[in-house]
Amino acid sequence: MATTVTSLPEPLDPGTTNPGPTARAGGGRLYLRRFARNRSALFGVALLVLLVLFSVCGGYLTHFSYTDVDFTALTQPPGGTHYFGTNQGGNDVYAEAVHGLQRSLVIAVSVSALTIVLAAVIGAGAAYFGGHVERLTLTVIHFLLVVPSFLILALVSHHLAGDWRVLILVLTVFGWMSTARVIWSVSTSLRERDYVLAAEFMGVRPWRIILRHIIPNLGSLLIVNLTLGVVATVLSETALSFLGFGVQTPDVSLGTMLADGSGTITTAPWLFGYPAALVVLLTLSMTLVGDGLRDAFDPHSTTGARGGRR
């Protein structure tokens, strides 16, 4: 009975044996169940929810605004009406932290979302069309990766000084490359899939194939990269602002607070400690969520799709 020379290897793995009840339960619920079983991911979600709540509602718990200056209390340690103390200029650190967290979150989430869209279209497009388009895109990507993009970021954002909306734009324009490269390399394998070929043979138009067959099948990768992109953006926003190139006074982000606090780390550690803790908690929660999502989507893969960092 000479049957299959190219048959699939017999699955040792029970997850891929005949479609049992699990396969019929539908993907969404299955992913949710896997995610919910992951304790560290749930911890990440809880942490994230708390942080978002804090950034949105935290402001109502104090009557200080981040721009207010309390001349009666300069460089006050935490306690009393100033929960997190005040800085040298009499600004309430708590109010600043709430605002800074909000600012950092908004920047990070928008940059990450914009980046992923840009990277998905460019990466998947390059992989699908191949040939000259692909070569050109890759050259641009590699070029931008070789240029210390952080330096260019600093250069550009310094010039455009201060406006956080511009910062979002700049971070996106110089931040999509490594994600695009990851998406490109995964898409090249998707491009060879039979269903893409089949769609081609049915006469489906190229961009329709990209939007309908390639990008949806990147799904989990995109979601995971979205969360990890938030981490990367928070870190680079922090770094930029720390050096004075990102968000600038009078606006406040976690990065500028770190910069302000770094000089007085021994004398007034609270100025540095609170924003530092918030940044770490924020990125940590995002990382945990991202790792949890990845494990839920693809329990067999141990390879991280971590994009560029910092």
Binding site: V147, P148, V231, A239, L243
Partner: protein, 313 residues
């Protein structure tokens, strides 16, 4: 690649940085014309077409290796001369340590997958993955100060790259080392994490691969099969990634140098941008690209050594 990158940076820098603003705040107030006139000898005169300035700058770099002048007339070359050494030292040491520490940890933990050590180190690494460079550097500073206080004498320096008044070979070496330890440590803490986590997962992927199974079927234990067969195969992608991680380390160095008050390229970059020093900023970018290129070449060599498939027979 480096050449193109550097040139693009030049154009961007010339476009975005405005050296004239340095003079505007000066007393006595000068007219725009006077400012432009003052900038002209440094090849920064905004009245000259950008193409001309670029060509002037580019030919100087090519023919005389002269990277130009700052807006106040200081030579970029003399500024970067010693800074390159200082930063190169830091970046190289941190990269090497990161790779060694990350890979060693990953091998150690992957063969004890899901054991106590594996979980512990992974927890620490995931945590460190999320610490911004500035926070990490300052935490190291804090720890250094604490250590010095407890020892009662200054073992490790938290500021500067050298002491001004040290002479003699051994004291100099010791002094440099005392300065180097903490910044390198903070950079390594940030750098090793990536290697640990990716190398660990690459190793685990390889552990489940067919050839490791074959190796185990010939009678190697799991740990032996990982060390002898999985590790070398999984090092190949890591070697290539080293080149791409150098820009990240360099960025980390900018912050570390700022925090530790090192007179290195990173700190210079911050200064140059703040002072609208077009030529200085470009020189830093060229340095960064150069480090990346060196990393890429080394990575290629490493891949050839590791992987017989790319060797030409």
């Amino acid at each position: 690649m480096i050449v193109v990158a550097t040139n693009v940076t030049y154009l961007l820098a010339a476009w975005f940085l405005d050296p004239r603003s340095n003079y505007r705040g000066l007393r006595p107030v000068r007219t725009e014309e006077q400012i432009d006139h003052a900038l002209a000898p440094y090849n920064l005169d905004p009245r000259a077409p950008l193409a001309d300035r670029w060509w002037h700058w580019f030919s100087d770099v090519l023919l005389h290796f002269d990277w130009g002048k700052s807006p106040v007339g200081a030579s970029v070359n003399s500024e970067i001369g010693f800074r390159v050494v200082v930063s190169g030292q830091l970046v190289t040491a941190a990269t090497l340590l990161s790779v060694v520490a990350g890979v060693a940890l990953s091998v150690f933990t992957a063969s004890r997958q899901y054991g106590w050590w594996d979980r512990m180190t992974q927890l620490v690494s995931v945590f460190l993955f999320n610490v911004p460079a500035a926070v990490a550097a300052l935490a190291v500073v804090f720890a250094g100060i604490w250590l010095n206080q407890h020892l009662g004498w200054r073992l490790l320096y938290v500021a500067g790259e050298k002491s001004p008044d040290v002479s003699g070979l051994w004291p100099t070496v010791a002094d440099r080392f005392q300065h180097l330890v903490l910044p390198t440590l903070s950079l390594t803490l940030l750098g090793y994490v990536g290697y640990h986590l990716t190398q660990r997962s690459l190793l685990l992927d390889n552990i489940n691969s067919d050839f490791v199974r074959t190796a185990r079927a010939t009678g190697l234990t799991r740990a032996q099969a990982i060390r002898r067969h999985a590790l070398r195969a999984s090092l190949i992608p890591t070697a290539t990634s080293v080149a791409f991680s150098i820009p990240a380390i360099f960025t980390g160095a900018v912050i570390t140098e700022t925090v530790f008050g090192w007179n290195g390229m990173g700190q210079y970059f911050v200064q140059t941008i703040a002072k609208n020093d077009v030529h200085g900023a470009v020189a830093v970018a060229a340095f960064g690209a150069g480090m990346t290129a060196i990393g890429a070449i080394l990575a290629d060599i490493a891949v050839v050594v590791l992987d017989p498939r790319v060797r030409v027979r």
